[in-house]
C-alpha cells in the first residue's frame, strides 16, 4: 500500500464518527476464551449470554433443534450452553455480536455471505491447527473469524469505492484484495490492521488480519498468518468465499504458507488434503445453518 493511500484511509477513518466500535460483549468474551478449554468458566459465559436477549433465544432454539436431539427441551441458559457445548456457544456469540458491528443498512457486501466465509475460515483454521498440533487452535479460530473484519471498515468508511471493488472482483473473478488495491489503493487487510489496533486485538491476530493475503515473508506473521492464509484460500475454492467464483488454480504445495508450516510442523507432511477438502463440504452445511440462525432473528 502506498503512503498516500494509507494516509487517506486514516484521514477517512478520523473524519468519520461511525467507525465500528468493539461490541461490549466481545472483549470479556475474548478474554474468557483466551485460555485452555478446561479452564473456561461456564458461569461467566452464561452470565455474558444473559446480557443479550436475542442471543439467549438463539442458544435455546439451537439447543432444542433436531440436531442435538435432547430428550427434554432445554429451558435454562445453562442447560442450553451445556447441551450445545462451549465452542458452539462461542460460535453463536461471536457471529451474533460481530454481525451487529455495523448497522444492517451499511453493509456493502451481503452480511450473510460475509459471515459464512468468516465462520468457515475460523472453523477450517482451527481444524487445520489441530491437525498440525499447533498448541492454540482456539486462537487460530479467532484469527480466522476476524481475518476479514477490515471489510467492515471499508463498508463504513469508503462504501462506494468498496462496492466498486467488490463489483470488479466478481466481474473479473479475481481475489478481493487485488480488486481493492486496483480501485481504492488499499485493501481490507490495511483497514483490518487499523481496526485491530483500535480494538486492541492481540498482536498476532492483528498480523493475521493484515497479512493473510500478502504472506510474503511468513516469518513475520508466523503460524497464525499461514493457517489463516491457507484456510481462507481453501474456503474460497470451495464455495465458501465472498460470494463469487475466482477462476484460478491453487497449488497448496507451492503456497508460501504451506511450505512454512511444512518446515515447522512435522504433522503437516501427513495431511491428506484431498480428504480435508471433501470434508469441508460438511462444514459448509453447519456454517450455513449457524449463520442462518443468527440472521433469522
Amino acid at each position: 500500500m502506498t503512503t498516500t493511500a494509507i494516509d487517506r484511509l486514516r484521514t477517512c477513518i478520523a473524519n468519520i464518527d461511525a467507525m465500528p466500535t468493539i461490541p461490549v460483549i466481545l472483549r470479556p468474551l475474548l478474554h474468557c476464551l483466551d485460555q485452555p478449554a478446561e479452564e473456561i468458566d461456564v458461569d461467566r459465559i452464561v452470565e455474558l449470554i444473559s446480557q443479550d436477549k436475542s442471543i439467549i433465544a438463539q442458544c435455546i432454539r439451537m439447543a432444542n433443534s433436531a440436531l442435538f436431539m435432547r430428550s427434554k427441551p432445554a429451558e435454562t441458559i445453562r442447560a442450553a450452553v451445556m447441551s450445545l457445548g462451549m465452542w458452539r456457544v462461542r460460535d453463536l456469540l461471536f457471529s451474533n455480536t460481530l454481525s451487529k458491528v455495523i448497522p444492517h443498512d451499511r453493509w456493502v457486501v451481503d452480511p450473510e455471505v460475509f459471515w459464512r466465509h468468516s465462520l468457515a475460515v475460523a472453523m477450517v483454521s482451527r481444524k487445520f491447527a489441530e491437525m498440525i498440533d499447533y498448541p492454540d487452535p482456539e486462537k487460530a479460530y479467532l484469527a480466522g473469524l476476524l481475518h476479514d473484519i477490515g471489510t467492515v471498515v471499508n463498508c463504513m468508511v469508503v462504501p462506494d469505492e468498496f462496492r466498486a471493488a467488490m463489483e470488479k472482483g466478481s466481474r473479473e473473478h479475481i481475489p478481493l484484495d487485488e480488486a481493492e488495491q486496483a480501485v481504492m489503493g488499499f485493501t481490507h487487510c490495511d483497514s483490518g490492521r487499523i481496526l485491530a489496533d483500535a480494538w486492541k486485538i492481540p498482536a498476532d491476530i492483528g498480523d493475521a488480519l493484515e497479512l493473510h493475503h500478502r504472506i510474503g515473508d511468513p516469518e513475520r506473521g508466523g503460524t497464525l498468518v499461514a493457517l489463516v492464509n491457507l484456510s481462507d484460500l481453501l474456503c474460497r475454492m470451495r464455495d465458501l468465499g465472498y460470494g463469487y467464483v475466482e477462476y484460478r488454480q491453487v497449488d497448496f504445495a507451492n503456497e508460501p504458507g504451506w511450505m512454512y508450516l511444512l518446515i515447522k510442523y512435522p504433522a503437516m507432511a501427513q495431511i491428506d488434503l484431498a480428504r480435508f477438502t471433501f470434508a469441508l463440504d460438511e462444514y459448509a452445511k453447519e456454517v450455513s445453518d449457524l449463520v442462518a440462525s443468527v440472521f433469522s432473528s
Binding site: V245, V250, L273, A274
Partner: protein, 302 residues
Amino acid sequence: MSNETTLVKDEAAAPENLSDPAWFRIRDLIYQVSGIYQTENKFYLLVGRANRRMKVVGARSPREYLEFLTARPNRDAEMRNLLNEITIGETCLFRSMPQIDALRKVVIPSMAEAKKKISYTKLRFWSAGCSTGEEAYTLAMMLLEETQTTLKGWTFDVIATDLNDRSLAKAQEGVYNDYAVRNVPPEYMRKYFTKSGSEYRVADSVRSHITFSRLNMKDDSKMLFMRGLDVIFCCNVLIYFDAKSKTRTIQHFYNALMPNGYFYLGQSESLYGISDKFHLVHFPGTTAYWKPAEGALKVGTP
C-alpha cells in the same frame, strides 16, 4: 435419539440411523480401499445404497454389515459390490460442471498460452475407462466450443478407452436417453444432438474427434504406448484396483501426460497414499492432479 431406539424392539426393523458410528467406519473403510470419500451430508446416499447390499447379504445392522466388509471370507467381493452400488448411475453427460469450468476457464487458457509459444496448436485428451462414452462426448463438445474462442484454429483429439466391449459398442453408438442428457446445457443440446423418438444422438461433428478403442489398463505393454496427453480423465475406475495395480496405473498415467498436464479423478476420489508425483491442485469447487513441468519447484505434500 433414545426415544426412537427404545421403541424398536426387533433389530431387523431398526430405522436407518444416519448417525450410527458404524456408518462412519464404513465410510472410512471405503475411503481407505477405494479413495472415494462420502461426505456426511451425502450419507443418505451411502446408507441407501448400502441398505440394498445389506438386504442381499442379510445384514441386520450397519455394524453387522461392517463385519461382512471386514471379517467375512468374501469381504473383497462384497466391497466390490458395495462400490458398484455407490458409483451406479454416476455417468451422465456434463456430470461435473466445476470440472468443465476449471478446464475452460483455467486449464485450457494457460495450456493454450504455453503451447502457442512453441507453435504447437494441438490438444490431446484421454477418457480412460470411458464406459458408455458420456465423458468422452462431453470433453469433445467442450473442446469444440473452445475452438470458437480460446482455441481458434487449434485441433484436438479425444481418445476414449475401455475394457468392456459392450460398453464400447454403446459408446460408439452415441445415443442417450433423457436421463443421460439431463445436465447438458441447452445451447450444447441444440448444437450437438439430434432427437429421434425418445433418444438423443450425438452429432457427427463431435464424433469425428473421438477415437474409441479397447484397452486394459493393467496391460503394461499397451499402457506404455499412451504418450503425449494433455489431460486424462479416469473417474471411478481405479477404485476397483488393488493398491499395487493402482500405483502402477497411476505411474503410467503420469508418464503418458505432457509436463503441465492434468489428471482428473472422480469428484470425490483421492490419490492420497497412491502417488506423490502429482500435485493436488484446487479450482473453484473441484480438484485435479497436476504434473509439474520438469525443473519446476517441487515441494510440499498435496
